[in-house]
């Protein structure tokens, strides 16, 4: 016998969540959308006016915006594959039977980098990578390598941000993929191990199909995180030297919080949101199709 749940009950259960989402997410988004159509500078409120799509036209033709977007894309293209590769290796090692205590300790320690506040991660980098007093340069000195100017050189600073991002987020990827590996039925893995001794074959044909949802989740979350990457960079390099580490979120913060041009920053944010949504849809179409 099937019982039909009254619509009122459904609404009562869903209502609070929908209301919270609307208040926390939708209303600010609509407000940002509205402000993006205005000249709205906090220090020049008297000059506020509706400007239609002018802010969007400016942003889309602004070389500074696309340079920041290019840096963000470069960071993503380099960092995320490395995180996935290293994370997969770590997950596979932790997935092997035996050494239970060590694996438990390793899992716990993997949480530490991503549990550390982003801003603190950046401050740590600034101190550890200091040319004169940083521990990293001191350690390089022990093996005869001259100090490297990590923060003061544009290329090095960019690479340092990538390295630091990999350090912080590889454990996250490893834990997600480890969770994905735990969904592979043990009898299938055991049967595959009887068929072949090649770990690569088992990974490719048995484990990887089960990892696709985890990889999609990792890609979506890391894409959003990379586009939002701000705190760590701000405390580490503040977008410098020059504009070498001015990623898209750092640029938007500068326009909104330092130049107080909320209209322009809103337009930049809306464009960034659109890019994130498009990328998320692409991932779902490309990868989820295989799972279905």
């Amino acid at each position: 016998m099937s019982t039909r749940i009254p619509r009122r009950t459904i609404a009562a259960f869903l209502g609070p969540a929908v209301f919270a989402l609307a208040v926390v997410g939708i209303v600010p988004l609509l407000y940002a959308l509205w402000k993006s159509l205005h000249y709205f500078n906090l220090t020049k409120l008297a000059q506020s006016r509706f400007v239609g799509l002018d802010n969007y036209a400016f942003v889309l033709t602004d070389w500074v915006f696309w340079q920041a977007m290019g840096r963000t894309a470069t960071l993503f293209i380099i960092a995320v594959p490395v995180q996935i590769a290293l994370g997969l290796v770590m997950a596979l090692v932790l997935h092997r039977p035996g050494l239970t205590l060590w694996k438990t300790l390793t899992r716990l320690s993997l949480v530490l980098p991503m549990a550390t506040t982003y801003a603190v991660v950046g401050l740590l980098a600034q101190v550890m990578l200091n040319l004169k007093y940083g521990v990293i340069n001191q350690m390089l000195g022990w093996i005869g390598i001259d100090p490297i100017n990590f923060i003061g050189d544009p290329t090095n600073a960019f690479l340092a941000v990538i390295l630091w991002d990999i350090w912080q987020w590889t454990p996250f990827v490893a834990l997600v993929l480890l969770a994905g590996l735990s969904t592979v039925p043990p009898e299938i893995e055991e049967a595959a191990q009887l068929e072949t001794k090649s770990n690569w074959t088992i990974l490719r044909h048995v484990q990887l199909p089960y990892l696709i949802p985890s990889l999609v989740a990792v890609l979506i979350l890391r894409t959003a995180d990379t586009l939002k990457l701000f705190d760590m960079v701000f405390t580490m390099t503040r977008g410098g030297p020059g504009a070498a580490t001015e990623f898209i979120a750092v640029l938007i913060e500068r326009v909104g919080n330092r130049q107080f041009d909320i209209g322009m920053a809103s337009a930049q944010s809306i464009i960034m949101l659109a890019i994130t949504i498009v990328l998320a849809r692409i991932y779902l179409r490309l990868f989820y199709r295989e799972v279905r």
Partner: protein, 445 residues
């Protein structure tokens, strides 16, 4: 005579003199009585001058019953926090104003002119003696377009801090008097064995604009703007200054574009560089054995002169009453500002690590022995330029441009001419948008 005893003596003398006049009716305790229990909100920075004021605070609160609630924020956040608070009609009752924010705050009507309080006999301390402030400092830090809004509180001038022992070892009995000497003599002699002559803090934030970029404009005859508010950065004088900065980098540590105040001060404190040009407020950091190895080797002089004179870096903060405060908060806030910047408290403020802007505080020649920065500071405040950085409301937008392209110049990513041209074009676009070129705004900076 210590400052505490000197201040007490001044206070006693003032009481004795004023005792015979009608002004004797005024006292802080009486003036504050209607506002006992009032809470006043203000932002402070984590710098020596603020620590000094915090140490003095219990005395004010005990005398008045007014509670001063302090929120300490990093400098980088102070402007944004206040702008958002004022726009939203928030809680801040006293504005902390960097000299480059004064135009912004005044034009937006976020701060009250001090006349509102000095004209009120119930609130105005007869011993305020506004003329006792260094005129340059009062006008630059607290004044806008002929009106005084704030009283100078945390006051800086750029000074040359140097390691006299390093200079002596290299054969110098005195610090460089001119920038040309730095380039020709001191730089080559002091840059050796892993040590450098000079560290110029140039990180991409206000440090790049104020401490690095502007520092080499003015002494060479350059400036940000012409009298018509067009860019002056490609003038021969400005170009000479900026090229000089570029050439001088060979005597600075590698990665100087990543140096903020703390790195530059630390480089001198640890004996890695022979001299720095830093704000006077860092004297206590460099003089303290807890934070510096310099000891008796620490010496202070005015900044070197350029072809156009000294024109040292000028910076600092005033305190002003916020218009959004209610009447009781305004009155209580004013009483605090007046008290903490007063002539009577200047000595104590100095003793606790602050730098007062009261001329009378530096009158005793014996003080120079205790506070080595005093003669250089007093000399610098005679020769400063109020518009060292333009103080109009557009500075927050312009400083971001200068920070980006000034750093790119130093990194060699663009030439000095190209960088100055880009800054000039972008700066003029900001000023055009603001209405300076169509007569909508007075050309005040």
């Amino acid at each position: 005579m210590t400052f505490k005893t000197q201040a007490s003596a001044i206070a006693l003398a003032a009481t004795a003199v004023l005792g015979a006049s009608p002004a004797s009716a005024w006292s802080l305790e009486e003036a504050a009585k209607p506002y006992a229990g009032t809470e006043v909100e203000v932002l402070f920075l984590d710098r020596p001058g603020y620590a000094a004021a915090i140490k003095m605070l219990p005395e004010f609160e005990a005398a008045t019953g007014i509670k001063i609630n302090i929120t300490t924020v990093p400098y980088e956040n102070a402007l944004g926090e206040q702008v958002r608070d004022f726009v939203a009609g928030g809680d801040i009752d006293i504005a902390l104003i960097d000299l480059v924010w004064i135009g912004n705050f005044a034009e937006n009507g976020w701060i009250e002119p001090i006349e509102k309080f000095t004209a009120d006999p119930a609130l105005a301390d007869p011993a305020l003696e506004i003329d006792d402030f260094f005129p340059l400092v009062l006008n630059a830090f607290g004044g806008w377009n002929g009106t005084i809004y704030g009283l100078p509180f945390d006051n800086y001038s750029g000074l040359l801090f140097y390691n006299s022992c390093m200079l002596k070892d290299a054969g110098f009995d005195a610090p460089p008097a001119t920038w040309q000497e730095v380039m020709d003599t001191y730089g080559p002699a002091l840059t050796k064995d892993g040590k450098y002559a000079y560290a110029l803090q140039s990180k991409r934030n206000e440090t790049q604009s104020a401490d690095s970029f502007a520092r080499f404009l003015w002494p060479f005859g350059g400036s940000f703007l012409t009298a018509e508010f067009k860019s002056n950065l490609n003038s021969p004088e400005s170009q000479a200054g900026l090229k000089f900065r570029q050439d001088l980098m060979k005597f600075m540590p590698e990665g100087i574009v990543a140096y903020d105040h703390s790195e530059a001060v630390n480089a001198l404190a640890q004996g890695d560089v022979a001299f720095i040009t830093e704000w006077s407020a860092f004297y206590s950091t460099l003089a303290s054995p807890e934070t510096s190895t310099l000891g008796d080797c620490l010496a202070v002089a005015p900044e070197p002169t350029g072809p156009a004179g000294r024109k040292p870096a000028l910076g600092g903060f005033s305190l002003a009453v916020a218009t959004q405060a209610d009447d009781a908060e305004k009155a209580a806030g004013w009483l605090f500002i007046q008290w903490v910047t007063s002539k009577a408290n200047a000595g104590k403020y100095l003793e606790l690590g602050g730098v007062p802007a009261r001329q009378s505080a530096y009158a005793d020649p014996a003080l120079a022995a205790t506070y080595k920065f005093i003669p250089a500071l007093v000399e610098s405040w005679q020769e400063g330029v109020p518009e060292f950085r333009p103080r109009f409301a557009e500075w927050p937008a312009i400083t971001e441009i200068v920070q980006e392209w000034g750093t790119k110049m130093m990194l060699g990513e663009v030439t000095i001419e190209e960088g100055a041209k880009v800054i000039g074009e972008k700066m003029e676009a900001v000023l055009a948008e603001a209405g300076y070129y169509d007569g909508n705004k007075p050309l005040a900076q």
